[in-house]
Point group: C3
Chain length 306, copies 3
Amino acid sequence: QKVESDERALINVQEGLGFQKDSLFLLNLRFRIQNRAGYNNIRGDNFSVDMYDMKVRRLRLRLDGFVLNPKIQYYIQMAFSRSDMDLESGNTAQTLRDAIVYYTFSDKFYVGFGQSKLPGNRQRVVSSGNLQFADRSVANAFFNIDRDFGFFGYYTQPLAGRSLAMLKGAVTTGQGRNSFNNNDGFAYTGRIELLPFGKFTNNGDYSEGDQQFEPKPKLSLAATVSRNHKATRAGGQTGLVLYEERNLNSLILDGVFKYTGWALSSEYMQRNAANPITQNAEGLTRHVFVGHGMNTQLSKMVSRKS
Amino acid sequence: QKVESDERALINVQEGLGFQKDSLFLLNLRFRIQNRAGYNNIRGDNFSVDMYDMKVRRLRLRLDGFVLNPKIQYYIQMAFSRSDMDLESGNTAQTLRDAIVYYTFSDKFYVGFGQSKLPGNRQRVVSSGNLQFADRSVANAFFNIDRDFGFFGYYTQPLAGRSLAMLKGAVTTGQGRNSFNNNDGFAYTGRIELLPFGKFTNNGDYSEGDQQFEPKPKLSLAATVSRNHKATRAGGQTGLVLYEERNLNSLILDGVFKYTGWALSSEYMQRNAANPITQNAEGLTRHVFVGHGMNTQLSKMVSRKS
Amino acid sequence: QKVESDERALINVQEGLGFQKDSLFLLNLRFRIQNRAGYNNIRGDNFSVDMYDMKVRRLRLRLDGFVLNPKIQYYIQMAFSRSDMDLESGNTAQTLRDAIVYYTFSDKFYVGFGQSKLPGNRQRVVSSGNLQFADRSVANAFFNIDRDFGFFGYYTQPLAGRSLAMLKGAVTTGQGRNSFNNNDGFAYTGRIELLPFGKFTNNGDYSEGDQQFEPKPKLSLAATVSRNHKATRAGGQTGLVLYEERNLNSLILDGVFKYTGWALSSEYMQRNAANPITQNAEGLTRHVFVGHGMNTQLSKMVSRKS
């Protein structure tokens, strides 16, 4: 099983549906469905059910591949379930998640232009098909920097022995997915990842469990800094529209370690703004989500996937 | 022509577009388009036209097949035309109709989890591509139990000779398609179908005309009972949101007979609620659709489909 | 490269993805993505940026081909980006652009029923993938007659030598794409195109640049007349809903000339209405867009596409 990356098109496909015409054209068609039945118990003192949660949580259609030349890749992802279309901040269904075109200069360097995930906290970038729980953490919900539209760059630098560094950067609108009108304040995001023991098997640094049963220890340590200039929403790329523009600064530290089926991952996220509370003419307030959060997961694969 | 069933994925495809990789993966891609031009004359005393009705009535995309193993089947259906997205009860476009995963234990028994049609009145379960008229009956509009999200089970029991019984059941949210928040009241639906003369050719009990020109008489008689506990909408799975929760009880009786191109089908539907009228703080009322309805159709195929 | 026509299904495919089963079935699957980063400077006196415009401008999925018989063709186009779903006149996402079925009587004559582009000004009918600029002209925005639902006919008449005439006509609802309720006033559109020097190579009269480097001069001159009876929107098929119905008349004259990489195209559009201002009970007004506009483009291809 090839692990999907949300930062690259798949051009070496072993699963799903791939259509290829020489090296002129490749289209992979994949979809993902997540049906869910659960319940929430909010009070801690008894276990009666407060609310059931049964729905189609995710239904995604993913098209990726290349056109004209394997160096020119594209990646499109659409979401069709009601829980997946950003209806919390309006009632216009937002189908489109990713729509980006990549150009690959070399094995070490590629750039993208379009809408995609920012190189933010690791759990956010892990594709929802590679999560261990049904949803991401609460900390992620408040402090992730989500998707945005703009220019992306990805560079890999080999270091001594098998170790390597990855540099990722983006200059984007700062207003998140499918935003309509853009002001003149952009978001600048930079991320560095250090892999002292070399690459993970099969992109394992961006899947949660150690499905590969890494025979040797693998580690990735990473830091992201993001400045969202003249942000208009409570979380920058996400959240309610603020009454005034604010400048947001985010710091993210995360890491993952995998070895023989064990996986330990952890991430710390922090967001600051000079004056987080905004006010309109009637005196109503909306505030930037400032603060910090942390999420740690430890897991052990019990048997190899057959 | 294989008759599509809305209660099962197609895994034996003769039409449309099928992609298969050994017994690991099958994807059928089918779409259906229904363009319509008509007019409505509401007054009975003359035939001047009150309103024209010209539009793309249905545009559906259907993906089904299996993954990993022919026992694990999926069925996804999406609708893209404006008349097909539940805009009567809000202005959020609802693309998703069906998204369900089935597990097949044997030829006689399979279960499903996800969003699909409830085993309600026969005309509702017949796929829109197999109807004889452009729309379903008015009785169906008021009393059908539509689609819902939850657990489904289908069991076939052979009886004496060629006769057989089918048992269908579902435990679902009771709030219909793409509902957001679920309370702790579920809907319980049970249906029994008796086929004294054996199976219909090519699933003919779930298409309206006798396209198969059944050489021997075939009959299906069925009854559905459904209890929707703490329903929040006027028709349970459909309709406006009520001001208070109500418990709804539905009884459905239907049958179809086919022989040498003739088809006779009939259905009776009834819905009850203890106190059908709900009221809000301002004294406005909304009521449960209670009452009963009936629909009967007789048809004769004039020639075999070439 | 085959030039897509927005007035016909593609049944001779050299690019994209085509699935065929003898002469029983053909499905072409194509998609188009347009990401955009730009800025608008509204004041003329300096070049500071007033607003950036960065977004996924277009994401289209196109399905076309034939069913049962190559004479019965279909053409479906859906749009998934936020800028492409008619959100200016409401917040219901409109995915569906084209959904039409064609029947071909002969090489000279075919008819269509469904939703498609009206035979209006040339630039509007040119597919967005064949434009030279990222968007169509401002004149087009105000005076084009866009898409509509109804009956379409296309007839080609050979004349002396290589010259020919094309006649196109449509009777449609007059209320534009995905309209809900239709009154009893229709839109009647007729267009004539004269090609004195014969057909353009590869449908070049409906692409903007002369990618074909026409070895001999080619010319198309055309006129469209459209009457929209009892129109309910400011531009007939587009725009805000008017407070009263109006009858709109449109006249369009356009032409294109191509030769050895040079292309000159021009179009003139005019819209009239007897009493363009409508008023509601509160005295608010909304008006029909009346007036005229013109758009001319000259281009030279600098080198052949490799």
